[in-house]
Every structure is written in structure tokens, then in C-alpha cells.
Symmetry: C3
Subunit: 160 residues, 3 copies
């Protein structure tokens, strides 16, 4: 009847582990919730578990490698959600991603990169909850030279 | 009493035709609605009717050409709205555009480009509904080398 | 009991003056409010009081100079809020910033730049209201060659 998997079961089945979220590097927070809308700060492919991916896609990395980086970014977004919301099961809908690839000026395969995050969210939450609107673009540079940064808007169950 | 034109009458008067929306190229959707807020995925100037605009504004295209591209992007956003919402008449307010120009590093006329979309929305919906907040910026690269990508947030009448 | 300072007292104490907001250069507006959510158009470091900051961070400006520019951008966002909402005291929460630095391809200190705006908001509104989600990225070019552009989402008290 429902296509709503348990996100933690899905992560386990996928062999994926959430890192503890990195503290924001400045005067900001990992997410802000307004009623049922959650606005997540941009995350990068940096994690004590999954390592650091620094450099430009199209020069230092292929689109396929970028896909893996975007998947790590997705895990970091999930990590922030898990720690701030208490449970990923409170996610009702992934609404929107803005996926920004640190790319060379002639790079053109941004969708193939950001799919790493989009696919993860569909795998973890199922298609009904996980499918989202998105934009995938190439930025000229990113903090600390990370290869991908993605921010997200979600709908969550409001606290009882 | 009201400044609310019929959007289809306006498109007809402007001689504009909506293309069928292109299917998203990956694991995402054209829009997500949360109550009355609609979040639209980024669209580009690619359409079976209006053709493909690939290249960089400031090198391959002038700002005036970019304006025309942004107008095609606006038509594609309208096309997604029409097909997903059933009717453009359900649009209550265009809230926000993020207009991203695939531009050379020294390009500076981004507002003149993104006006192609902003003007279209005001022409189609009238100023009360069509005027919006926006940002216009220059990105280093875009998917498939499209010249402009624009994402949007709107308010729509909730379904009865 | 409360950590909610008066924003005008704070501006005075900081020695900061709001410029009159610049009129949008095209068919758009400074902000759109949807119930209690406010979507602010991107602003730059341009002001009749604080001058114009044009050029690229990492080439024409250091990150420290960029910080000062982002602070001017923050003042301009506050100026729009003041003029459109009637009072900064109506701000209940700064939700989200998208901070875009006009940067060289190898620039990496975007957070240090965007902090100029983030710190201002925390100083003016206090941490409970002022702390926000954010993304800080490097774009390839910006309108009129401004050095920083920042857009914002806030929650305000709905009109009585």
C-alpha cells in the first residue's frame, strides 16, 4: 500500500554509514525549520568517514567520480537531518535540491554528478518521498575547494 | 477592478506557444508542491519548438540574445506549470526566480538577460501576480552547455 | 529572559546606517512575502552611503575585504526589509542565505566572505533570531561586476 521504506534499514542495506555532522564553520546552523519546511545549509563531500573530495570536476575528477562525491554530500545532508530532527523517519518529502558542481568552464555533465545525491535520496526514502525538484549548475569555485556543494529543502512531520 | 489577465489569452496575444515539457533527465521531477508553494526545477532554453541555445553569454551570445534565451526558459517553466498544475490560471503569485547565466568571467549584464523571463511572467500574469523577487548571477558552466538556467518558486491556488 | 535586541538600537550601537534601498533595475521587486515567509531578492555591495565594490575576490580583493563587502550587502538586505516591512522588529527568524562570491576559480575562503553578512544579522537580531542556514559559493560573474551577491529567506510576524 505504501512505498515508504525505513530510511535506516535502507542505509544499512546500502552499506552506508552516517558521519557525525561537521559543525558549521561560522555564524550559521545546519538547518532551520519553519513549520514543516526545513531549509538545509549547503554541504560538501567532506567527512571523517568518507574523506575529503577537493578539486574541480572536469579537470581533477570525472563526472563519474563527481557522482560519488555528490552521494557523500547526500549522506552529509542526511546526517544533519538525523542529528537535528532526531529521526530521518520524520521526512515527508524531499522538495528541492540546488546542486552546485565546482566545474571547469566547459563541463556539461552536471546532472550526472548531482544524480549521486538524487539517487541516494530516492534509495533511502523511496520514490514517493525522495523524488524532488532540483537545479544542477556549475559554479566557479567552492569553499575549501570542495568539488560539490548541495543545499536542500524538505518537508518534515511537525513535532507532536 | 482586477489586473489579472487570462494567461492563455496573453500567450496567444504574444504569439507564444508552450512546448510539451521535457522529461527530467534523471531521478527528479519538474516541480514539487507544498501546500500552496510550488518549487520548480531549473529549466534551460531547450525546446522542440524553440530550439537549443548552447554556449556562453558574453562569448557566443550577446546580452540581447541571452534575453531571448531567458524568455524561452520562461516558456519552459510555464510549460511545466501548465502540465503539472492543469492550468496556469491557478498561479496566484510568482514569488522568486534564481536566474543563472552561463557567462564569461567578465560578463556584467546578467539582469538584462534574466529580464527575458521576468518580462514574460509579467506579460503573461500581469504585474500583480507576475512581479517577483529574484537573483541574477553568472555561473561558470551549465548542463549540456545551455546558456541560461532559471528555477522558480510560485504560489498557486490549492486544489479544491 | 529574552535574547531579542532592538535591531535599531543594535545598528546604532554598531555605528551602522541603512541606505535607502536601490530600486530594482528591472521587472522585479525587492521582496515577496507569502504568509510569514519573506523571499528577498539578491543584493550587492552597492549603496549611496557605503559605495560600490566592483571586482573579483581573490584577484581585486582579499577575503577580509570581501567580508566588509558582504556586510554592506547585509545592510542592503536590512534596508529593503525596513522599507518594505515597516520595521525590522517584525523579523522573527533569518532562515536561509545564499551567498555568492564573484571569485577567481581557485578562491576557497567563501565562508570567510559571507560571514560579513551572517555576523551582521546575528549582531543586529541576536543569535536566536539571527542564526540561519546558508550556502556560500563562488560564482563566475555577477551583475555590474559586483563582488558579492546574497539572497535571503526570513520569517516575519504576519500583519495584525
Amino acid at each position: 500500500m505504501t512505498d515508504k521504506p525505513d530510511p535506516y534499514d535502507r542505509l544499512l542495506a546500502l552499506g552506508l554509514t552516517l558521519s557525525p555532522p561537521l559543525a558549521p564553520v561560522a555564524n550559521f546552523v545546519g538547518l532551520v525549520q519553519v513549520d514543516k519546511l526545513v531549509f538545509l545549509s549547503g554541504q560538501g563531500p567532506v567527512s571523517p568517514i568518507h574523506g575529503y573530495r577537493l578539486g574541480k570536476v572536469g579537470r581533477d575528477y570525472t563526472a563519474e567520480e563527481g557522482y560519488d562525491h555528490a552521494r557523500i554530500v547526500g549522506l552529509n545532508l542526511l546526517s544533519v537531518l538525523h542529528h537535528e530532527l532526531g529521526s530521518l523517519s520524520r521526512v515527508v518529502r524531499v522538495v528541492k535540491l540546488l546542486g552546485m558542481v565546482n566545474a571547469t568552464p566547459d563541463f556539461a555533465a552536471h546532472p550526472a554528478v548531482i544524480n549521486g545525491c538524487s539517487d541516494l535520496f530516492v534509495e533511502v526514502f523511496g520514490p514517493d518521498i525522495g523524488k524532488h525538484a532540483r537545479s544542477a549548475v556549475g559554479v566557479g569555485s567552492l569553499p575549501g575547494n570542495i568539488s560539490v556543494e548541495i543545499e536542500a529543502i524538505l518537508v518534515v512531520e511537525e513535532s507532536a
